[in-house]
Amino acid sequence: MLKKNKDYRVMKKIGLIINPIAGMGGSVGLKGTDGLAHEALRLGSIPKALDKAKVFIEKISGLENLVEIVTCSGDMGENALKKYNFNARIIYFPRSENTTSSDTVEAARIMKNEDVDLLVFTGGDGTAKNIYEGAGESTTAIGIPAGVKIHSSVFAKTPGRAGELAKLFIEGKTTLTKEAEVLDIDECEYRKGNVNTRLFGYLTVPVERKFMQNKKAPSLKSEKSQQYEIANEVIRDMLEDEYYIIGPGSTTRAIMEILGLKNTLIGVDLIYNKKLIENDLSENQILKYISSSPAKIIITPTGGQGYLLGRGNQQISDKVVKTVGKDNIIIIATKDKIANLKGEPLLLDTGSNETDEMLKGYAKIITGFRETVIYKINS
């Protein structure tokens, strides 16, 4: 039941993908490099992704006997491995020296087909998104941070830490994994000063079993188990003949999984009497359904910043919220997620001051089996 590595293979197959242009936009003030690599180079930016990958590789050097590396040619991987004695195989050749996001997607797809134990990639949020597109959420991955935007929790804090975690993983010292969010913001909007984060999906990342856990009292349950507990709480109290608007995220997804319904992880789904009505609805589609029938919204805040509305769930617009009514919003979150807010309130950005004002104050968040937290919401 605890997720395990594939059959405890002694030799681990590691995939390595470097996005060589990641992070170049930052130093020249471009707020990301998506579609602007040439512009960045022209402005004098120096690629750093390769160096960051080397820091990582240095950390796992010494484990040559335990690792087979599959990677891409040139700056997308091969060049970082020079001077090391890893058993490395090149399985992807980019079409041009000027690599693009589609190269990352394609390489990730091939890695997945190669059944790698761990996919290590260097880049930023955009790269993570491409990895997710290519490899899907079941692939175990670690991100080496090298991009301008690092919002996704698939990234280790530093390249060195990514190396340490990979080392534990390779040596079989950690077998636990969790799902981590792949977030990205719309760079066009971001350059204009608007932050519009989207949840693109999840990747599976290894978790270091925290040594020295101070076991004087029971610890929290695993994240997955907490999500299921929460979902059961919500389902138990579900009313008949009401629409339930299920917001994006893995916490809300658990509800759909328990009910055995197809769901869109990053979209909004609608259910009625525990049956699926429609997946991935737009604002207007939601409004159409709920205009004449009672409805409830089930949402979970985004990890990190704690946005309840307006980040990644814009389909649940202020109009939807107003129609449904304040009292019909069910907020759910794991305790870990709340702990990660470090006491900061939950945030709202529905685009309507009136709606934000209406929702602010203290709200009940369902955090587990017969368990709630009273938490502050700011507009």
Binding site: R209, K364, R370, I374
Partner: protein, 522 residues
């Protein structure tokens, strides 16, 4: 030979006892005996035979027990070695066991608890034969009433968490009599109270509502107002909480709960800094519990036996578990009358609780008296604030909430800055402390305060002990910047090295017993 320099306060040459001892099954040698057992006299066996033939066939043990066969001295040596590999409070300076109140446990108290007049008492003996222990229990009840302001104490709960469970049971019984047990199904607590304040009521079927702190670290009163309703059965809270912050508005909280018809239960796990200073009653609580093994020093015994002495005001008394100990002016007796009603919680633990622990608490109280208890609280708080001040002077240590103000008994620090700058985590520092014969505890989960370190010096350490502890922490913080690897790979001077815990979560690898281990790792 030269003069030895001991000016450094850090024990750089420490090494904990390490015996590299085998698992006891590996020490077995066929035929050895550890002890001889009294045999039935010949006349008995002549009369009844071998005794075991009478057992029905299906109830007879058929296989030989796989226990080790060892001569007595080898068993003794094995366990004495294991004891030496354990860093109890008798051997190290226990400043770091935040929330646990590990203090000096006087040797005389333990000796007294072991004399046959205590140890060889059966709990069902006639009252006339146990007047001594009943007197001890009765008087300890009186003292704890005075310490808490409550009207009656039960010693049945076998620990703090069972104390919370007893409070939850009392709350349930109270509303059951009123017919409100289904309506009042919520217990409010705070995130910095002990997790048992939520987990134990859970067992009793309660819903838990958590309150977060405000920006000063006091439980957020606005959130609390949003939480209290006619569904509220009770408010269970520690004060000070595990951050060492004392909720100065506690009366407002308890009053609000009472206005809504709820009850208030005080988790006094952190009572050590409040003895003789303030009481549960004055703060508006209907019930409370003390951990005798913590606050009253009885000691912890690797995790019990212990007592979670639970006190209540008069209106809760009749729901207590039976029996209570009373005195009729001539003799002490077990009183079943007070709680003889259908709503009493009946029984929490076998017999009358852990009597020898009550005895040790009694001895501790009598050795200190009212002035001593007050001094305990004051010195514990003084020690804590001294340590607090000294540690906050270090750039890599911080403690969220009420900047510049005092804490009570403990402080939850954060080493986040150290971690961000060096990659050395609180877990690494914690392990490294063991290389100097010390240790600390981080925090309960989840970590609301990142990279936590919870220190509670109590009244036990001397100033020199505190200074040594501070110097040792400083030494390690410095290492984090200059030689982080030595911290991350610690301990080096403790009993064993970095443990590979990867099998602990894996059903195919974990082994809780030697036989499981043999089976899985052939």
């Amino acid at each position: 030979m030269k003069k030895i320099d001991r000016s450094c306060k850090v024990r750089k040459n420490f090494h904990q006892a390490k015996w590299d001892e085998a698992i006891i099954f590996e020490l077995s040698q066929k035929g050895e005996r550890g002890i001889l057992v009294p045999k039935a006299e010949t006349k008995i066996s002549e009369k009844v035979g071998d005794g075991i033939s009478k057992l029905p066939k299906n109830m007879k043990r058929k296989t030989v027990l796989n226990l080790p066969e060892m001569s007595q001295n080898r068993v003794l040596r094995h366990y004495t070695r294991l004891s030496q590999e354990t860093l109890g409070a008798d051997v190290n300076v226990e400043i770091g066991q935040g929330t646990c109140t590990v203090k000096y446990s006087p040797k005389i108290n333990d000796q007294l608890s072991r004399i046959p007049k205590m140890a060889e008492l059966h709990p069902l003996q006639d009252e006339s034969t146990v007047q001594g222990i009943l007197q001890i229990m009765y008087e300890t009840d009186l003292y704890l009433r005075e310490v808490s302001g409550m009207d009656r104490i039960t010693f049945q709960p076998g620990g703090g968490s069972q104390g919370v469970f007893t409070m939850a049971s009392l709350v349930y019984a109270y509303y059951k009599e009123k017919g409100e047990e289904n309506q009042r199904n919520e217990i409010i607590t705070t995130i910095y109270s002990h997790p048992s304040d939520a987990a134990a009521p859970h067992v009793k079927g309660y819903k838990i509502v958590y309150i977060h702190p405000d920006e000063n670290g006091y439980p957020d009163f606005e959130a609390f107002k949003a939480a209290v309703s006619d569904k509220t059965a009770a408010f269970f809270v520690a004060n000070p909480e595990d951050t060492g912050v004392y909720n100065k508005n506690i009366l407002k909280f308890t009053k609000l709960v009472h206005e809504h018809g709820g009850l208030c239960g005080y988790d006094q796990a952190n009572a050590n800094g409040l003895l003789g200073v303030t009481r549960a009653k004055e703060a508006g609580f209907d019930m409370c519990f003390f951990n005798l093994h913590k606050t009253f020093s009885t000691p912890h015994g690797c995790g019990g036996p212990a007592v979670g002495a639970t006190g209540v005001l008069k209106h809760i008394e009749k729901y207590l578990p039976a029996p209570l100990v009373d005195y009729d002016g001539e003799k002490y007796y077990l009183n079943y009358e007070i709680t003889n009603n259908p709503y009493s919680v009946g029984k929490i633990r076998s017999f009358n609780g852990v009597a020898q622990v009550v005895l040790k608490a009694y001895a501790w109280i009598r050795s200190l008296g009212p002035e001593g208890l007050y001094q305990v609280a004051k010195t514990a708080v003084l020690n804590n604030n001294y340590l607090f001040k000294k540690l906050m002077e270090l750039p890599y240590v911080d403690a969220p909430y009420i900047k510049g103000k005092q804490r009570v008994e403990q402080v939850r620090y954060t080493l986040e800055k150290l971690y961000n700058e060096t990659g050395v985590s609180t877990a690494d520092v914690q392990r490294r402390m063991m290389d100097f014969g010390m240790h600390y505890w981080q925090s309960h989960h989840p970590y609301y305060i990142p990279e936590p370190m919870t220190l509670e010096p109590t009244e036990t350490p001397s100033k020199a002990d505190l200074d040594e502890y501070i110097e040792t922490l400083k030494f390690i913080f410095n290492e984090a910047y200059t030689n982080p690897e030595i911290v991350k790979t610690a301990p080096h001077q403790s009993v064993c090295h970095y443990i590979d815990e990867s099998g602990m979560d894996d059903p195919e690898k974990w082994a809780v017993t030697w036989r499981s281990y043999q089976k899985k790792f052939k």
